[in-house]
């Protein structure tokens, strides 16, 4: 697995125009020695984290994950990190690359100069090296009930819950989340207030709220409309900037603030009103 040969990448991110030309190597593949500065930490043996440098001979078209795989295969098999699909679908190879949360399979070496600093995702406890513990996110995900809660259960004999293309489009974008947690690593509010439910979980709550087959919004509001829910968000927008799936969590949270505000007005200002 870790000594897999360099592969061609699906067209996820086109290289910037003239990228090859600016490196003086128009077309074709060429090698380049890249210096990685990787955070190492083993809670069992280390009292504190340290950085370790690796000089890696890389192909020009490689991504950071390829370079890490090369380190693991040829230089240092003790390095720990998560990855699986190598095509920005599984969401498991998120890490801080030069201080920015990125999928390492989606971070092309040609876009970096000098030493590339690689750290585990910010705002999460480190399990080992670049592996973080996602428990807090998983717990919050559960709390927003990210699944269909039908308005009315109906027997299978009555057939499927149908939906028009227009109804699908209302939530489709928000259903593209790959749970990579880059938005949590980017969100300054999550960093400062760990109880914040956070961008991805709230966006998934919104995704189900927007689904015509769903009737569970009221249950999700018990978590989403609290101080720790959407109201902890100050609309910095970093979540949307780093999202590799273009989900735009910030827009979902702002829409939830509007609907939660309307709920509040109905509940408090209209006699007998129920949201």
């Amino acid at each position: 697995m870790s000594n897999s040969p360099p592969r061609s990448h699906p067209p996820l991110a086109a290289p910037p125009e003239g990228a090859a030309a600016s490196l003086g190597r128009p077309g074709g593949s060429s090698e380049r020695t890249v210096t990685l500065e990787v955070l190492r930490y083993d809670p069992d043996t280390d009292s504190e984290a340290r950085f370790q440098r690796y000089e890696v001979v890389c192909q020009e078209e490689w991504v950071v994950l390829d370079a890490l795989n090369k380190v693991k295969a040829d230089i240092d098999p003790t390095l720990n990190y998560r990855w699986s699909c190598h095509m920005a679908v599984c969401g498991s190879c998120g890490m801080m690359i030069n201080g920015e949360p990125k999928l390492s399979c989606h971070a092309f070496l040609r876009n970096y100069e000098g030493v590339i600093r690689i750290e585990p995702l910010a705002n999460f406890p480190i399990e080992r090296d670049l592996v973080v513990a996602p428990d807090d996110f998983m717990d919050k995900l559960k709390r927003v009930k990210p699944y269909l809660i039908p308005k009315q259960e109906k027997p299978i004999s009555e057939g499927e819950y149908k939906q028009t293309p227009a109804q699908l489009m209302k939530y489709r974008q928000y259903s593209m989340c790959i749970n990579c947690m880059l938005c949590y690593a980017a969100c300054p509010q999550y960093g400062l207030t760990p109880s914040f439910i956070g961008p991805a979980a709230l966006t998934l709550a919104h995704r189900y709220n927007q689904d015509s087959r769903d009737g569970g919004r009221k249950e999700r509001q018990e978590v989403a409309a609290t101080h720790e829910g959407v109201w902890e968000c100050t609309f910095v927008g970093a979540c949307s900037e780093v999202c590799p799936a273009h989900v735009d969590p910030a827009s979902a949270l702002q829409q939830m603030k509007i609907t939660s505000s309307i709920d509040w007005i109905v509940e408090h200002l209209i006699p007998g009103g129920k949201p």
Partner: protein, 113 residues
Amino acid sequence: MAKSHKPVVWFPFAAGGTVIAFFIPVIVLLTLMAALGHAPAGLDYANLHAFAANGLGKLIIFGVVSLSMWSSAHRLRCTFYDFGVRADTAVATILYLAAIIGSILAAIYLLRI
């Protein structure tokens, strides 16, 4: 967990944000043009004074001024929060109070016209 009462301050903030986005750039531009002596004829002193003297005009000006101030106060509160200033109640009190005082002053000046 109890639902938040933040909509009370967030709704005027959202309304103010919309007002700021639509009106403030135009107002800044027209003010600069007026300062340079290029105000359109319809926006000369006499016309604007008449607008501010009219009841509906007063209401519109008050709405733009108070909502913009409230929105700016709330935005500033969020900015303090983003920078890690966690004395949120104190920050919110000071900023909202400034917006409220500003709104009252705007109302007083408008009613005097």
